[in-house]
Symmetry: D2
Subunit: 340 residues, 4 copies
């Protein structure tokens, strides 16, 4: 497959679908978009025009059934992911799917089984692994630069809460927001979490609490290898998107700062200041979205395993379920407890 | 008392006794050292010579009984604090006592009762409140600069573990090391913790584990007002003393960095680097030690309440006992549970 | 012209030609590359393949004569710029030309006269104006954020000297390297320099001195409005590309730092360090190259004046000639002295 | 002399006299103040009370003639320095004198000749050499950490201009303010400047210009060893005292930042900011004032040469005279030109 471009069909022309389409159209010569579908056909048509996509399909099924397509990007709502994965796998398509695969482990397991049977490639959209900051932290761990990890802290705060309708359909903060941090925790430490303990509240917006969700949380993680981690989440950071990590190891520490639109510092009679950090995930993680698709394209074309595979999509969901149970039952919860 | 210097007797000429003696001798004209005692008489004599102290007392009791002395500094081992406080209070002396007052709440309560009966002033040596970084954080909370606090993180790591003999007599990491952070948590948020949850291990030094103690810990705090906090402790930070705090509020955040011996940055063909942060608490907190004694001196001379009083010495001990019980019983523990 | 893409011919498929071709091909949907030419035909062919350019022209003249082309990008060696500008203008093409236009003011004036006569648009490739750091500094000046400028410092150092053959053809450090800083000085302050004074040497590489050039220089600038500026240049900064600016105004200062590949800081027992700043102008200024072409495309399509016009290409050359004369004659030199 | 304290007489109880007196009284056990004199006797009396100085002398002459005094600190106005140095030297006193020694080289030479004849020690108050930032930079140069120096920049800006009466008596900006930077330039590079070129103006305050002085200046330095340096001075930096230095060497660079009252960073919805840097030389250089007196005390007691000797007091004055002449004559001026 090395001589020709990877032909991709995009299912879902919403926000993340557009991000991926622009990467494929303008930054990744090794791939091309063959077709796009969305239940909102106008959105699909607009995206096709913007990115020069030759075909707007009637449905996801049409894309999955298209013989000319090598791989599908699943960017539709979470509730459809597992079933689309199964269908695409059965049709022999390689699959890139946004996170999370599903809100239940049973649904995920069914999807992964289909992928296994078909022998196709699956990559989950945990883009942050491709961010230069987090990749640098991972390198510090694997290279021994900071010795054996002892303590890890992940700070992950959104600039402002999403609309309450989004919250209601989100699966809750742990499945919607923390899930990226659960992935990051496993990725950075290179080991599995065996127990979590959650303290949380709805402090930012009462409506979130009334919807049964939380907006401010600390999840404490205990890894099998003894590392202790914390994840700090808040749906509101007035200064912008706050995405940092710190690991203390036996020989040193590594810590990342946020990313800023410029490196200018102003000093006046009142304070020494700089502009706010990048405010939105699409600005902050622009490069990582491009890099994850480049990795997917390369892996599929070269027949190599993808860097974020099915099990990487499953375990963070289990962690999210355990984190919520810990909150509900006010006690530490082992990951084994959330298995069927 | 405003026209004359506060006459102070120092009980204990060890490390912290020497720090305080130098402050009184060389930096605080409003006070003078009248006498010093130590069970190691040579240490007391050396300190007297260094700081121009006119008298080396035979015992703590001699100091407490000295009519010419207004106040005592208790810098002897923790096991002696409560009893010395009670004796000094009965003798009508004002008291500055190093932390912790005692390892048990009963002993503390007895000492505080004696102070109350005598109507003398008592200040506990939680010097970090006087550090310019932590004072600035407190100001951001009280002034509303960052809105209502939601999340707090305290990082508090020693450069290297103390000798194992020290560990054995220390009362354990929570009473010896975290106790400063428990005080800091209360001070910064201005509210009380109602529940703690601890995850910890002996990861730095096996001998510490064999002694029944821990060297790496995260203590999760839940305040009455809903704030969630974490304290990150480790007995070993290879890069030096690591003392930072971060608070997220509804309107912003404040975070402090470590303090460095200089502000120079070197860029070579290999990296961009600076020298290590200050490595030891006596370098890092020099100013705060001087400021706490200045505050004590002023309060006693002017008859005002001290800024860190008896109850401020008691509550962190209760928090330490709860943190240890949480670790032992692997569950969240309410502070009310450690009361008699 | 708003409905169709701007059709561009590229003259020169060297390093900077490739940068611009990739921007046009992959990042700028409003433009398309119609043709490319290079005296090294293999380079042009390779670039055409990489960027999907439909035609490899035999010569610059073929591109200039192509009726289907709206605008040309002149990325050939400096010695050809002025003549190509004149030809393209006469052919009615809009022009984007790399800096400098020429090494002599006479040649520049002839080219600009042709542009004027033809009424076409001309933009000079001073890309740094589009860098987010320098744009932020300019904004601080125009907005009054730092008051009236008093002092300005530009630091502009290459990671390593170019090959000596490059140096010999470069026109000298002031026309080749400092010329960007001369443009930046005018852009940031928004006023003209009336006098320069140069102190310089060949300290990095003896061969540069033997070639009659300099590699380490400070050029002091006196603006008409009283601002005093310095430009610090060196052909070798072992830690990477060093591109900073600082302006002190009556109400404050603004200073920019370098740009780094990540925001990670590592602390070990030896030092606190981060990775080196971006090492090469193509990494450091990636975005600014894309933004300058976007601005050119927009201005030509909408018939607006370009943001960096002919006179902006002429004055930095005059400054470079004055800077060299100052060095040669060891005295301050007015810009008026280098006029014919 | 090792067994007893160095007995010091202080001439001048103004601002800097008080700084030194407090150091000697409260921070330097190896020295004691025997006597203090000031033409304003009330100032001397107040200082004696504050610092426990046993005697207020009638005059400088009384101190110089006092057999019980080992060394004098000359903190009186500049116009008196040279004559007092000569008198003190003749009386066999060791001398610590504030900068500058005098406004003319002739007066300095006479004073230094007297010191030489008497064989006493003389130290000039260039305290910044003892600042931990500048000491770190010097270490980077001497250790080879950054290779051979090529370029140096000193930024030295006051928070606000002094009263116009001070300006009138100051000897001008180069003798009053830049003189510290001239010393720093020699100290950091470890070589002599052979030529200076000045561009300057009165931009901050018209009254300064009317008084014949300047308030904004860049002095370009050419060292014998080829290093090029700049000194950036302004009498007004609205954000506080701005004291930085940067050196580029063949193997790297070192740059220092300002010093801040705390290491807290606040992020709100508007900006990311910290408090202003230390605003005044007595806060910024507190430690260096103490360290220079400690060095003087040690050198005198141990009979070693002082670290900042007579010639170090003379050369910066020559540099200041050359800098002013360069401004007046609008040309580069060699230091040899200002010699008699």
């Amino acid at each position: 497959m090395n001589d020709k471009r990877l032909r991709i069909g995009i299912i879902g022309a919403g926000r993340i679908g557009r991000v991926h389409a622009e990467t494929l159209a303008f930054r990744l010569p090794e791939a091309e978009i063959a077709s796009v579908a969305d239940v909102n056909r106008a959105a699909a048509t607009a995206l096709a025009k913007r990115c020069g996509i030759p075909r707007v399909a009637e449905s996801a099924e049409e894309i999955i059934g298209d013989k000319g397509i090598d791989a599908v990007l699943i960017c539709s709502p979470t509730g459809t992911h597992a079933e689309l994965i199964a269908q695409a796998a059965e049709a022999g398509k390689h699959i890139f799917c946004e996170k999370p695969i599903a809100f239940s482990l049973q649904a995920i397991d069914a999807a992964l089984a289909a992928v296994n049977r078909a022998g196709v490639q699956l990559q989950i959209g945990f883009n942050r692994r491709f961010d230069s900051n987090f990749a640098r932290v991972r390198k510090a761990v694997t290279s021994g630069e900071i010795g054996a990890p002892l303590l890890m802290h992940i700070t992950s705060r959104d600039p402002a809460p999403p609309p309450i309708e989004y919250i209601r359909a989100s699966g809750g903060i742990f499945l919607d927001m923390t899930i990226h941090d659960f992935d990051m925790a496993r990725f950075l430490i290179g080991d599995e979490v065996e127990e979590v303990y959650t303290t949380a509240g709805a402090r930012v917006d009462e409506a979130i609490g009334e919807a049964g969700d939380l907006d401010t949380a600390v999840v404490l993680l205990r890894f099998r290898n003894g590392v202790i981690g914390t994840i700090d989440n808040c749906r509101k950071a007035p200064y912008g998107y706050d995405q940092r990590v710190e690991i203390l190891g036996s020989e040193g520490k590594i810590a990342t700062e946020n990313r800023y639109p410029n490196e200018a510092v102003v000093s006046t009679g009142k304070s020494v200041y700089n502009d706010l950090p990048l405010n939105f995930f699409m600005d902050r993680y622009t490069e990582s979205f491009a890099l994850e698709l480049a990795a997917f394209t390369t892996c599929v074309r070269e027949g190599k395993p993808t860097p974020v595979c099915g099990i990487d999509g499953r375990i963070p969901v289990a962690m999210a379920l355990a984190a919520r149970r810990s909150y509900d039952e006010h006690r530490p919860v082992k990951l084994t407890e959330v298995e069927a």
